[in-house]
């Protein structure tokens, strides 16, 4: 490896948090113009390592070289000056501010003393075009666009800075396949220009698609470094998890019983119209669709988290009467949100409090809450989902993303609802954890519960569900049975090219 070829070199870099050594004497190098994948389990330290590079921490130890020059990266500004840009795992846009200003933050074009408004709009429009958002007015605030659009805006923002090194921390977790394709072509383009990219993802197929080389992290250390052509996905998984995982999706013998949940002509005008379907006891039903097809809205309306304009819902033949989520939950339907940070977890509360949040009424005797009664379910859940946290008292915000996701899931498993709707249950979760989560979901179904899984992860839908329903533009356009279920059929159907 020629010296000149190395864009970034980190030597013996460590970063400690109270109670954890998140990055443990890491040596990490990226060549000019390569896409370097960084993978590892949840909590392995990927984000922390990259945030160190992006100047988030002023107390890391070790040395960082950019183009063979030693640099100190104690503030994001210092990192930016070195041409380092990062797209963060957790959305980092200012909601009330316009898209244009979010994209150009810190370097708004000026004319003399004052801002050049025309240029602001034209520059941001150009960047939006690059990520396929040409239809969006850059003057509107972020709060008015959807999450996947915001993710693209984030990418546009990073591109605008003309980085030499671009770090992408799970950029595709909220994107549709099409948008992922756009992203990949952008990445290839950047590569041509000699820009180095660090790409963090839990989707191994993506990595084989886009990366040139890959580094594997485990427990804060580097455990492997390969050219992509020299390695197989099995090998990577083994390095990540520390053991080999042979079979991703065990074939489950579904024991499907009576109709459990029956949705009749449900509509929320402007979001989804006339949706009808049944879910049976012991069944796992997938809902597939492109981002924005109205899947989440449908689920939220079913549990009355959002209003409904028309239609009925029956649970085991009885009309669901609850007018708010809490009443519907009591009748036996629960929904796990896709927005872990903003709606799923109370980040400033402890693991224990989050785990048991939905269970409070069950754990209470009359009006009195019994903490003792929560101990056992909590222990069981932590074990079942293999949640790794410094302690049950630590704040959830200090957990890695994947572990947060597990806490969120555990919160819903805890109440054992008759019907559980899971919205993107494994978003941002590592392969090992994903396996656990899948097993848990299957367990639930095997015990006679009904599960609805909304996921953009097609292999997950194919592997997990007994049948899958397709949503497009707010309508149910049909379902695909287990035998026909494959990534291709799903994709075709969701895009409106398959059967309907």
């Amino acid at each position: 490896m020629g010296e000149a070829m190395v864009a970034l070199q980190m030597k013996q870099v460590s970063k400690r948090f109270p109670g954890t050594l998140a990055v443990d004497h890491v040596d990490f190098a990226v060549k000019k113009g390569e896409v370097h994948a960084l993978i590892g389990e949840n909590g392995a330290g990927k984000s922390t390592l990259m945030k160190t590079l992006a100047g988030s921490y002023n107390d890391y130890t070790g040395k960082i070289f950019i183009n063979s020059q030693e640099v100190t990266l104690h503030t994001p500004l210092q990192a930016k000056q070195q041409g380092i840009e990062m797209i963060y795992q957790e959305m980092s846009l200012a909601q009330p501010i316009s898209i244009a200003e979010n994209i150009l933050v810190g370097r708004l074009p000026r004319k003399g003393l004052f801002l050049d408004n025309k240029k602001i709009i034209s520059q941001s429009k150009k960047l939006l075009e690059r990520v396929g958002l040409s239809h969006i007015d850059p003057k509107i605030p972020i709060s008015e666009i959807s999450q996947h659009e915001a993710q693209l805006v984030e990418i546009a923002k990073a591109l605008g800075n003309d980085p030499h090194i671009l770090v992408m921390d799970e950029p595709t977790s909220a994107l549709s396949r099409e948008e992922v394709n756009t992203l990949f072509s952008i990445i290839n383009n950047l590569k041509q220009q000699g820009i180095s990219i660090v790409y963090i993802s839990h989707h191994l197929p993506e990595i084989f698609e886009v990366a040139d080389s890959v580094t594997v992290m485990r427990d804060g250390k580097i455990v492997g470094n390969h050219q992509i052509c020299d390695v197989t996905s099995e090998k990577l998984v083994e390095q990540m998890v520390g053991r080999s995982i042979n079979e991703f999706y065990s074939k489950r013998d579904a024991n499907i019983g009576e109709v459990m949940l029956s949705v009749k002509d449900l509509s929320r005008y402007g979001f989804f119209h006339n949706v009808s379907f049944d879910v049976h006891e012991g069944e796992i039903v997938g809902i597939c669709g492109l981002a924005g097809s109205g899947r989440s809205e449908l689920a939220r309306s079913i549990v009355s988290a959002d209003p409904t304009d028309d239609g009925e819902i029956y649970l085991e033949g009885k009309r669901v009467k609850g007018k708010n989520m809490n009443a519907v939950m009591r009748e036996g339907i629960a929904y796990m949100t896709e927005n872990r940070k903003t709606e799923g977890l109370a980040l400033r509360m402890s693991v224990e409090e989050n785990l048991l949040a939905a269970m409070i009424p069950e754990l209470s005797v009359g009006l009195i809450y019994s903490r003792k009664r929560g101990k056992k379910p909590m222990g069981d859940l932590i074990e079942k989902l293999n949640i790794s946290a410094p302690s049950t008292n630590s704040m959830v915000s200090n957990l890695s993303g994947g572990n947060q996701q597990k806490v969120l899931l555990a919160k819903w498993l805890a109440i054992k609802p008759r019907v559980l709707i899971l919205d993107e249950p494994t978003r941002g979760v590592d392969i090992g954890a994903k396996m656990h989560i899948h097993h848990v979901i299957e367990d639930l179904a095997n015990n006679g519960h009904a599960v609805i899984v909304i996921s953009s992860d097609l292999p997950e839908l194919v592997g997990l569900s007994d049948r899958s329903m397709i949503m497009r533009n707010g309508h149910f356009i049909g379902e695909i049975g287990k035998d026909e279920l494959s990534e291709d059929t799903l994709l075709l159907a969701a895009n409106g090219e398959g059967r309907s």
Binding site: P76, A94, Q95, I97, I140, S267, Y269, G270
Partner: protein, 342 residues
């Protein structure tokens, strides 16, 4: 690629929402002109603006601080500090006016700096911090004046100049006030320096990751707030030829007026939204309400009531607007048409 209509369509409700303070202002002004006796004449309009001047200086700072997602409860004490310092330095210490004013502003800025440092370095909520410094500053003010007030002892020259109507309707003090509003509006809207306040309030982490020194930005906001409050107090004291150490300790205080106006003007307490000019119009709106009610000869209780009602209406309106927006957020118009066609 899915087809989406360009977002942010500018319907009537959008217009009302964006310009609501101007609409409110216009409506109240027209009602007052039409019905309130002795309201619509140059003398009274000037008087309204003179009265507004003090609150506007507080509202300027309050707005910028709120845009950063913070709150400054100390503005009123700092205003009193500016007032007693400018007169005290002049009368007791024999400084010239310029120096007195500059030192008063500097003292306000210093209080702002302290607020900013406690909020950013000590990481204490600004509500708490400024509640504490409010008490401290008010103690300092009393200590300086021994609990009494200070006057210029018959030196009315500058005070008279301040109250002179230089342009029809505008006294010198009002002109300074309006200039301050325009300058800060310009800074906030049209400079990088100003936009950064919005970014910090909109999302502190984003701003920090974008290389904005968020702590410095917040501290700057408090410094602006402190110095504007002190300047407002100083100008008021000069035109009054005297300074009172305890303004606003009873009744609807200037602090409450400033907070109310900032909110009524559309600045969000959550940060990232708002503007100085709107707060300015909001102060004028409140002043019109007070003035017109006095013209009608109503008692003070009606004024308190009216002030509360306007504030309540605005807060409720805002809450309902967000509620509505949340409900239709992400609604797909082409899908809606489907229902309408049925």
């Amino acid at each position: 690629m899915r087809k989406v209509k360009e977002k942010g369509s500018k319907g009537i409700s959008y217009f009302v929402d964006k310009y609501r303070i101007f609409i409110l202002f216009a409506i109240l002004l027209i009602i007052s002109i039409a019905f309130a006796p002795n309201f619509f004449n140059a003398f009274n309009l000037t008087s309204i603006m003179k009265g507004a001047s003090l609150y506007i200086f507080l509202a300027i700072g309050m707005t910028i601080v709120m845009i950063c997602g913070q709150l400054d409860l100390s503005v009123q004490s700092v205003m009193n500090l500016g007032a007693v310092l400018v007169i005290g330095l002049r009368t007791w210490s024999g400084f010239g006016w310029i120096w007195s004013i500059l030192i008063a502003i500097a003292a306000g800025a210093a209080m702002g700096l302290i607020n900013g440092l406690i909020v950013t370095k000590g990481k204490i909520h600004s509500f708490i911090t400024t509640l504490g410094t409010m008490t401290i500053t008010s103690g300092l003010v009393f200590l300086y004046t021994h609990g009494g007030s200070i006057s210029t002892e018959g030196d009315f020259a500058l005070g008279d100049l301040m109250d002179q109507t230089l342009i029809p309707l505008f006294t010198l003090r009002v002109i300074i006030t309006v200039v301050a509003v325009l300058v800060f509006s310009l800074i906030l809207n049209r400079t990088r320096f100003g936009r950064a306040f919005y970014m910090v309030g909109g999302n502190k982490d984003t701003a920090w990751l974008a290389g904005i020194n968020t702590n410095r930005k917040i501290t700057t906001a408090f410094i602006i707030s402190g110095s504007m409050a002190a300047l407002g107090g100083a100008l008021f004291a000069i035109s009054q030829n005297s300074a009172v150490p305890n303004m606003g300790t009873k009744g609807i205080s200037p602090l409450m007026v400033a907070i109310a106006a900032t909110i009524i003007g559309g600045t969000s307490m959550a940060g990232g939204k708002g503007g100085v000019f709107k707060s300015f119009v909001a102060v004028l709106t409140i002043m019109i309400i007070f003035n017109a009610l006095t013209c009608f000869g109503t008692g003070y209780e009606v004024q308190v009531f009216a002030n509360g009602l306007v504030l309540a209406a605005v807060v409720l309106y805002e809450a309902l607007a967000i509620y509505r927006a949340d409900k239709i957020k992400g609604i797909r118009t082409e899908l809606l048409k489907e229902v309408q066609n049925k």
